[in-house]
Symmetry: D2
Subunit: 381 residues, 4 copies
């Protein structure tokens, strides 16, 4: 049978348009046109709607990938998925992670059941999502279906083996709202921001619920338009989602572990129970198989750690462990919230090259007040 | 002989003008007019120059203290030292710590040498500091002298027993600069901010070097006007300083441990080696006598922890452990830098009621890139 | 018959808690407990949700007024209406306007019809507004009714004589939303901000439509829940509204001109046609009876100008006179939008003590893209 | 003799990297490789140090120009001067102005003295400016000399004919400071920002004084290192300067009017007397020959206006016409100050495509509190 060999390469970037690290990987033969499946990264800049650092990075990376693959820029997305999260406030180093997947022929007898599971990755696109479906059941169902297809592509059947699902879905725009309303359809919000009632927040959260539905984290019977951004007890522990107005359909990348995998790396995940819960970060490292003798890993014990992907959603409550915080009132909460997640992760991983996205207030990505953390660790064998 | 019994009471505040927690302490007999020596706290608001939350808190607290002590508002400062640090971005709970000092008569024979040392506190004012001395040797020497007097007031002779020195000094104002220049004196800077060349930063840093000189952390021979904010290898590990234009002389509060003390609490300190060094926070807890079996304290093991006082000065370099961060370029660096210190402390202490001040770039308060942390722990006996 | 004599006194303030200017007016006999009807002002600070400058000003002013009137603080609002708008970015001088109304007995024969009309003021409270009514028809109708009552109190019958209606209404809070939902009622938004879909914006805009309904600017037949913050062609040209969670009912102050008035001042208003329309400001001055020979008033010609009240709502479109602006994407748009209104007014009035509130995006307060401006001018006779 | 024909083309841009407007000018034959002398524009983004919008625009424009001229990117600066000012807060439309200069052979007899003067442009580079000269007399003298050369290139001899001098000079960087200090030289500041004592501010202001010296606005005898950013009574009324660490020498572009010019456009300038002085903007229009019958130009009368170049330096005082403003205390002052200048200009010119740079506090570019405004108008003949 065919088995996957997945690898991650972390490239710090010196400017938004810096592709030198990627080129070096190409030059050394570590990534090839037919193995590169995703570029996931943090781009420097404000992280706001008009963050030109992110836009420039996107343009420069697609241009580079187009040349690398030898395909036109507008076909790049068919081959490589881009997940660029804007804003590196605080102690988050701008970086790009190149994720490669190689297919290896393995004799069937060598694929032992019960063997040490290793990392696999799978991708799928969803059916087109209409503006009136954004942030609602239509989107939830389409993302759920795409998640199932991506699991199949990854060779995963048990949701327990899934540790991270990155999703990109269409958001709403002035023109897509006009389109829907001209057809006498309503939309979930006229607020185009990622604020509490913003279309961006609804799109991200419906996508998270779609993942939760596909993985059985939330039964379909509990889902409806009315629960999105209302019933915070419904959530996924592995979905990291983003949305952009320009897209027409969703894209899903599933990361998990499989016995058949021939990867040198393993993925795990956990959730923090609240905004200051460093133990949740350590749990994610443990879940990925990092072992540390003491309560917190030493620099040496952190050597096998390849990368951490974390959300830093701001809690909806103004209390942490019973005490009031003023973050919800803070005009800079969006940036500060993201920065704080970066510190929580860096203070445990001992490094600043962590993928941390967030800053929005409340989400179905992770439990109320807590956040999702996934870690990739190099296995010993 | 007379021995000190020092106690700390942490009161979270619901608004900048909230004195309910203090009043409750008074009503229950825990603080009395002749035992209250200092009010140290974090006030909510932006933390910027025009932060009205801090100003309102200052007015309301002085008013309350005036009534409590039965003295006019403008004499309150003779009895109680106020250290209010503005800005609670992120996970810093607005709060006031009331510090009391009671004098107890102890038979001389009961003051054993070598006994478990406990917390003491001492205060002193400096000679008036002229505008042309601010940020220069004049200020350094006067703060050093006041620090020695405050040690004497605390009953401390060995600098090793000093774990925290809070200092407030005059800054520069438009009018004090005019005054100096009318007398043909120069001033250290015309920039009234806390920016890299700001008078506020110079005043704070000269105060820190004054403490370092008094404690022998830096020999006087190495000190001159030219080293202030230039030679970062000269620093104090225990000085937390602030400055305000309206003051004429410096105020110093020394916190340490003494064998003669009859306090139930003990103080300790450490420094972080860089901006993400959670181990430095844990070292401060250990220094104060908190014991934890594993690498990081559990919630139960944190019970004896009374309070943490920490600085969060932004590193002067754009590298942390070899990787680039963009914090120095960030327009919100002042708030984000303070918020990150709050997270580093809270993720270890498991609580948000920590005193964390900072946000300025580079300082003689702590080593280059690192920060000062002091902790107070309730002793068992 | 009884006739009004209305006067306005503009007091710049040195700090949020500065009541010295008001006290001076009292000491000189210009304002008396039974003539003070409203305090309207701009307070320094960020203007954000947690702007402690505004809160401190509110507390200090109510305290001062309580002492001035000799009534308890919680009864002050029955006698004097407070409209404090937070945030003085740019060229807006923090200030308080004391508005007084004296009743004078005038022989009926002296009240000539067709005489030069002068300023009058009227006030009224609305019926309690339930959380589920906020931002909806319930609120619109109750504000409309209160506006009619305030007109009666002012002695005005013709809507054309109304030039400014200041309204304060309840907003939504976490607890009022819970209250409504516990009674199985829905609320207009769960977003408690003044963002595009925020409850604050809905409350303000429904209040503006209530004024528009009372004055016949919008026929009741065109009003419904669905048009609020949707149909921007419905608007008032005289309503300036604000909302706060703590209130239970609305308060309305109507400013207009009446033939019976014995005031020395006259009010007028106009709207700007877009965000850079200085001519709209000049039109308001002309409407209030300020005469200037040339296209723009000279400093001397501005002498009779007493005060300007202006909104500075950010346009919903990213185009001004055909060219793109990036204000809608700006993270600081709220403050910049308010600051720009301050400049537009100050560059015409030649002074910075103007009341300018705003910063929200789109509103039924004024036409799409334009803003409301009211001016008070001292009449010659 | 050879005579100049200068033209300006204003191209609004849709994104930082948008060169479509320039390409259209090329396609229609309006700009040619040998006539393009400068690209001056406003780029969207924050305008801060790490504004990637400005950086991306710079990269994209140099790349486009390189292809247009057929020269390598690193030689583009020899042919075309780029002045890109970052940040379009408020009502400033992102745009690029292409400035072309054509040389025409004109019979000497046709160059009448006393004829209607029209626009000319001249350029010159300065000698290399060492780090220790930045912000000091060394830089002042070198910029003065380059200004004289640029006047010669423009064909101007009388300083009264000079209406705008755009200058770019080297700033300081960490490495250039190290270089200077390794040679035992001091530098003007270690603060690399544009704050009150920042190296960027010193570099800009010394450049302005260099222009003032060349034009005789300030006699050389009054100039010394000590007056830079100290004696605000010394200033230029036509210098708009900027600095960047990467440069080694200064670049100067002089704009003025000459009788020999065959341009269709004319330039003029004025200064505002304070931050709200709309009359100063109108004076600049008048100076450029725009005629308007009334006090302020009507839309029709504005038709011949080609472009306005304005500074918006924040006043060093907290008073405008006797009243306090809080701008100096505002954390967003840099952006708000620039935005306010944009509004002052737009409210007079009736358009948003104005070049407005600024936001720094105090400058030798213009009188204390006031700002420089230059206008270009199409002449009738």
């Amino acid at each position: 049978m065919r088995a996957q060999r997945v690898e991650l390469f972390v490239c710090p970037t010196a400017t938004p348009a810096d592709t030198a690290g990627l080129q070096k990987l190409v030059d050394s033969g570590k990534i090839k046109p037919d193995t590169l499946v995703a570029l996931v990264g943090k781009t420097e800049g404000t992280g706001f709607h008009d963050d030109w650092g992110r836009v420039w990075a996107d343009v420069a990376l697609r241009d580079w990938t187009s040349k690398f693959l030898g395909v036109p820029v507008d076909e790049v997305a068919k081959h490589v998925i881009f997940v660029l999260s804007g804003g590196c406030p605080g102690v988050i180093t701008p970086h790009i992670v190149a994720i490669t997947r190689e297919w290896i022929e393995v004799p069937d007898k060598d694929v032992e059941v019960g063997k040490d599971k290793r990392m696999v990755v799978g991708r799928a696109g969803s059916d087109p999502i209409a503006p009136e479906e954004v942030g609602r059941m239509g989107q939830i169902r389409k993302v759920a279906e795409a998640t199932r297809h991506a699991m199949t592509d990854a060779g995963l059947t048990d949701p327990k083996d899934v540790h991270l699902v990155m999703v990109k879905v269409p958001g709403l725009t002035t023109s897509s709202i006009s389109d829907a309303e001209s057809r006498r359809q309503t939309v979930v919000s006229h607020d185009l921001t990622f604020g509490p009632e913003g279309a961006g927040a609804y799109a991200n959260d419906a996508a998270a619920l779609g993942v939760a539905m596909a993985l059985g984290e939330v039964p379909e019977s509990k889902l409806s338009d009315d629960v999105v951004r209302r019933d915070w007890d419904l959530y996924s522990e592995v979905a990291m989602t983003s949305s952009g107005g320009e897209k027409r359909h969703g894209e899903v990348v599933v990361f998990g572990n499989a016995a058949s995998s021939r990867s040198a790396v393993r993925i795990g995940h956990a959730v923090t129970r609240d905004f200051i819960d460093a133990e949740g970060i350590r749990d994610a490292l443990r879940s990925a198989g990092l072992s540390f003798s003491n309560g917190t890993p030493s620099p040496e014990e952190l050597t096998p750690l390849v990368h951490v992907f974390a959300k830093s959603v701001i809690p909806g409550s103004d209390r942490i462990r019973g005490q009031r915080i003023t973050l919800l009132d803070d005009a800079d909460a969006y940036q500060i919230g993201k920065a704080l997640g970066g510190m929580l992760v860096a203070s445990v991983t001992g490094r600043t090259t962590n993928y941390v996205s967030g800053g929005e207030r409340n989400s179905h990505q992770g439990p109320p007040g807590g956040n999702i953390v996934a870690a990739v660790v190099r296995a010993e064998g």
